[in-house]
């Protein structure tokens, strides 16, 4: 007809490898089903339907990930080159999915209270409306689809092969988390404040990520990591763009994992958010963020490593030291674990700085080991409760070991694993990362790492001493056992011990995953 009419041949149909993308698609699909349930299912069925859909989605995605890694050696780019499916990615995705399953157990908790989340987020804290909705027993079941969307973003983030997909994934994982942070049932003002802080700082950091992306696009003419890498080895003249781009991009990435000096959000958000969500952020988000960092630095900027290493050295040292030192002064359990998580971010960065296969496999192992331990630790926190909800203040934990030796013992195990005591997974992880760093020529970094581990051990031990060697208060918190959170604690403890005592199989898995590095 007219010349303006688009012929079908103008745009070739894109090719999506649904089989390889399936884990991501299953999780996002389950999230969409969750939204539909919210829209159409009657209120009384929503909770069970949501839990089942979320469980099925995560388990299905995990099973598919296993199948993918079993079927030959995965080393493909998928979705028109936007996604890289390879050994490390599958390992990270699998880890995220399992940890998300454990966090889901905490999210779905109903024994402690009707739900760990607010009855109605739109009601003003302390208002009559809030009371009414609490009495009516309604719960905000939208948390399940939100959680699944976040997990979907986390799966895409470390797999993203270009910076645009990475940016979109970053937002997909962040937006639900901003929301989830503000939905706590108790101490809602605190929770909302955490959401605002997380949101504002998150948006600020994603602007940096984006400006870095813009400069790299200006340098290389493409945002695909492999193109940038190729441009680095070929092109001359645009180095300032490249270096500024790398620096700004790193700010965005390091913010997500909470490295010093971009860690300020972490303690506030970890403390204010509902503990189930804190567990999710401390495990899955960290794994995903470190996975993204690994991919960007191993694939995109590997040839540039002599330029970014000094900066990362400084960040890693600061992160380890500040995390360990500031944690000593904390009086709130969640806040203390937040600073501990900051310090662990530093240890993970030493693995990134190593930029060798051992570094990659060590980091992968560390991520898995730390993830299980931290989910377990936060699960313990949800179980120690008094009249006002969770007993967060450390002084309330005094003497817990005398009243609930089993639970306190498990918590002590987690703390020892954080400290990196032998026979726990923490030791194996740290050992693997430090060994790789020494091989990669970062011995001073390892010395700082060991030093800060020692500092950190001090406050972990202090908590253990507090729990076992001081007298319990008369009105001390009660421990509420419930099947779901007990299961989360049990799995966390089991994995912590197993990875500590017989780390061989898991280490082997991480090594074989890291064997082929990232696909370009």
């Amino acid at each position: 007809m007219t010349p303006g009419i688009i012929a079908a041949a103008d745009i070739p149909a894109p090719h999506l490898e649904y089989g390889r993308l399936a884990p991501i698609l299953i999780v996002l699909g389950a999230a969409s089903v969750g939204v539909l349930i919210e829209a159409f299912a009657p209120r009384e069925y929503r909770y069970w339907a949501q839990v089942q859909v979320a469980l099925l989605g995560l388990v299905g995605a995990f099973a598919w990930t296993i199948a993918l890694s079993m079927s030959g050696t995965p080393h493909h780019v998928a979705a028109m080159g936007a996604i890289g499916i390879d050994g490390p990615t599958l390992f990270i995705q699998g880890t995220i999915l399992v940890l998300a399953l454990l966090s889901l157990l905490l999210v779905a908790e109903r024994r402690h209270e009707a739900s760990p989340f607010t009855a109605q987020a739109s009601s003003v804290p302390g208002s009559a409306e809030e009371r009414e909705s609490l009495v009516a027993g309604i719960t905000q079941t939208e948390v399940f689809p939100l959680l699944l969307f976040a997990v979907g973003g986390m799966l895409i983030f470390p797999a993203a092969n270009d910076l645009l997909t990475m940016f979109v994934a970053l937002e997909v994982l962040s937006l639900p988390l901003y929301l989830l942070c503000g939905l706590a049932r108790r101490r809602r003002l605190l929770s909302q404040e955490a959401a605002v802080k997380y949101f504002l700082l998150g948006a600020f950091s994603s602007a940096f990520f984006l400006y870095g992306t813009a400069l790299l696009y200006g340098y290389a003419g493409s945002v695909r990591l492999s193109d940038i890498s190729a441009a680095i080895s070929k092109q001359a003249g645009g180095e300032p763009l490249l270096l500024a781009g790398v620096a700004l991009l790193s700010v965005g990435l390091l913010f997500k994992m909470g490295a010093v000096p971009f860690h300020v959000w972490k303690p506030d958000v970890y403390q204010g958010a509902p503990t189930a969500i804190t567990a999710l952020m401390a495990s899955c988000t960290l794994v995903s963020a470190v996975g993204g960092i690994l991919r960007v630095f191993y694939v995109g900027f590997e040839t540039l490593r002599w330029d970014w290493r000094p900066m990362m050295w400084a960040v890693a040292i600061l992160t380890m030291l500040v995390g360990a030192i500031v944690a000593i002064t904390q009086t709130d359990v969640k806040r203390m674990l937040a600073y501990s998580s900051v310090a662990h971010g530093g240890f993970l960065l030493t693995g990134v700085i190593a930029t060798n296969k051992a570094g990659l496999s060590g980091t992968l192992f560390y991520l898995a080991a730390y993830g299980f331990t931290t989910v377990g630790a936060f699960a313990v926190i949800t179980m120690v409760r008094d009249a006002g909800g969770e007993a967060g203040h450390l002084s309330r934990w005094a003497g817990l070991g005398k009243r609930e030796p089993l639970l306190a013992g498990t918590f002590a195990l987690f703390l020892l694993a954080f400290a990196g005591i032998p026979l726990t997974s923490g030791f194996t992880g740290k050992f693997a990362v430090f060994q790789a760093a020494v091989a990669g020529g970062a011995t001073p970094l390892v010395i700082v790492g060991v030093l800060s581990s020692a500092i950190a051990a001090f406050f972990y031990v202090r908590v253990i001493v507090l729990m076992f060697f001081s007298d319990p208060a008369a009105d001390g918190p009660a421990v509420v056992f419930s099947p779901t959170s007990t299961a989360a604690v049990a799995v966390g403890a089991l994995v912590t011990v197993v990875l500590g005592v017989i780390p061989g199989p898991a280490l082997h898995l991480a090594q074989s995953a890291a064997n082929q590095l990232f696909v370009r």
Binding site: M1, T2, P3, G4, I5, I6, A7, A8
Partner: protein
């Protein structure tokens, strides 16, 4: 001059210094006019818009009056034609009251922000095909862009600023509420409006107005009883659901009855322009009527074949689409829509705010999304040379089933919600010792007497 040249260049996304020669149709014909012609066209459009507003105000008052069995303005000039001109002059000469406590800067800025974007939109409306002016062959359209229709959307979203800021700067609760309602309403309806364009873009393969009009020139030919006939080519026929959705959103965007909640007299006095008087008030008035004209012209362009003559005329008169004649067809179509606006205003009451939002978000947006899905599926299948008949049958069957299900659902759920059958108490005619007439007696509703009284109209007209 060169600055505007650069801008035009960028917007047309082509350096047309080398494409100017030739191409009679489409985007290639634009950006080649000499400067005097461009300025001339802009001036003509400006004057045309002012005249349209004067005429529309007069026509609206006359038509509504006729519908309400009263004469309407009939003193100033023949048939009262000059009434709106005099009203305008009187309005401009009135005292300009600036209430104490308003935010002065924004208060002055708001009417300008409301009126200026309204004027810009018309620059991409095609009035006709190529004509010859002073020896230059030029299209009867100020300019066209590869994304011309987006310009209208952009300008309407800029226009809202005028209303919102007017509401805010007046520092009065009624104005503020009016401004906020306006912003919520326009944003909501703009989404549905944008979606209603999508099907048109899919069919025309372009976002430029002149190309959309050209795409509606000819339907595909088919043979019937030895005659070559053409399928209807106007998108109002091909894309009827899009058209219907557009008409709804058009009413919503214009902020006129039945969707004039931002200025609802009964609740908000006059909404965002409560505190405005004199020339500033006239600018809001101007903006409203220009918007009405723009929306009508856009509808003509997108759905009614633009400036092209309607089918029976083209069948008998081959010259109907050449020269200056298209302007006539365009004006007829545009005024049809303006008449429609007035007709609706005269017939319908104002809806409630929640009904307005419900219509926008729960009906128009999902409906247009579904329709776009359907249209694009059909287009994709046709592009891949599928046989369309089974597809159409399946879709028709699906629609019928859906309708049936919804009817049954309505029946079932309607029964569930019905009151539980307790009979209404019989009204006691001697309640408390006084005779009480039943409230539905006919004389209470003034049955039989035509009620021309319409206070809302009186205050506005």
């Amino acid at each position: 001059m060169s600055a505007t040249h650069v801008l035009a260049n960028g917007l047309l996304a082509a350096s047309h210094t080398d494409t100017c020669a030739g191409k009679p149709y489409g985007l290639g014909a634009f950006g080649c006019d000499p400067w005097w012609l461009v300025i001339g066209k802009a001036l003509v459009i400006f004057v045309f818009l002012l005249l349209t507003v004067l005429m529309a105000v007069w026509a609206e008052r006359r038509i509504i009056a006729r519908m309400q069995l009263r004469p309407g303005p009939n003193r100033a000039g023949p048939f009262g034609l000059l009434q709106s001109l005099f009203d305008g002059m009187k309005g401009a000469l009135k005292e300009d009251v600036v209430p104490r406590g308003v935010d002065k800067i924004v208060f002055f800025l708001a009417p300008v922000l409301a009126a200026a974007p309204a004027l810009v939109s018309f620059s991409i409306i095609p009035f006709g095909g190529i004509v010859s002016i002073g020896g230059h062959k030029t299209p009867l359209q100020l300019t066209d862009l590869p994304v011309a229709v987006l310009l209208v959307l952009a300008m309407s979203s800029m226009g809202v600023y005028g209303f919102v800021l007017a509401g805010w700067s007046s520092m009065s609760p009624y104005s503020l509420l009016g401004g906020m309602r306006s912003s919520a309403q326009v944003i909501s309806y703009e989404i549905a409006m944008g979606l209603s364009f999508v099907a048109v873009f899919l069919f025309a393969g372009s976002l430029s107005t002149s190309e959309i009009v050209n795409a509606q020139a000819h339907g595909s030919a088919f043979h019937f009883l030895g005659m070559t006939l053409h399928t209807p080519s106007w998108y109002v026929v091909l894309l009827l659901p899009s058209f219907v959705i557009y008409v709804f959103t058009m009413m919503g965007e214009s902020g006129r009855i039945p969707f004039d909640l931002p200025e609802g007299e009964g609740e908000l006095v006059a909404g965002y322009h409560t505190e405005y008087s004199s020339l500033k008030f006239l600018m809001f008035y101007l903006a409203e009527y220009i918007n009405m004209a723009t929306l009508s012209a856009l509808c003509t362009t997108l759905f009614l074949g633009g400036y092209r003559a309607p089918w029976p005329i083209t069948g008998v008169w081959s010259g109907a689409n050449s020269g200056w004649w298209p302007v006539l067809w365009f004006l007829i179509k545009m005024w049809m829509f303006i008449f429609f606006f007035v007709w609706v205003r005269a017939s319908l009451p104002r809806v409630r705010y929640d009904q307005l939002m419900k219509l926008g978000w729960k009906v128009l947006i999902p409906a247009s999304l579904g329709w776009i899905l359907f249209v694009s599926t059909v287009r994709a299948l046709r592009n891949e040379k599928h046989d369309m008949r089974p597809v159409m049958l399946v879709v028709a069957a699906l629609i019928v089933i859906l309708l049936l299900v919804s009817v049954i659902w309505e029946r079932v759920s309607g029964k569930a919600e019905a009151p539980d059958g307790t009979p209404e108490p019989e009204p006691d005619p001697m309640a408390g010792g006084f005779p009480v007439p039943p409230l539905d007696a006919p004389h209470y509703h003034g049955a039989g007497t035509a009620r021309a009284n319409n206070s809302a109209e009186a205050t506005r007209a």
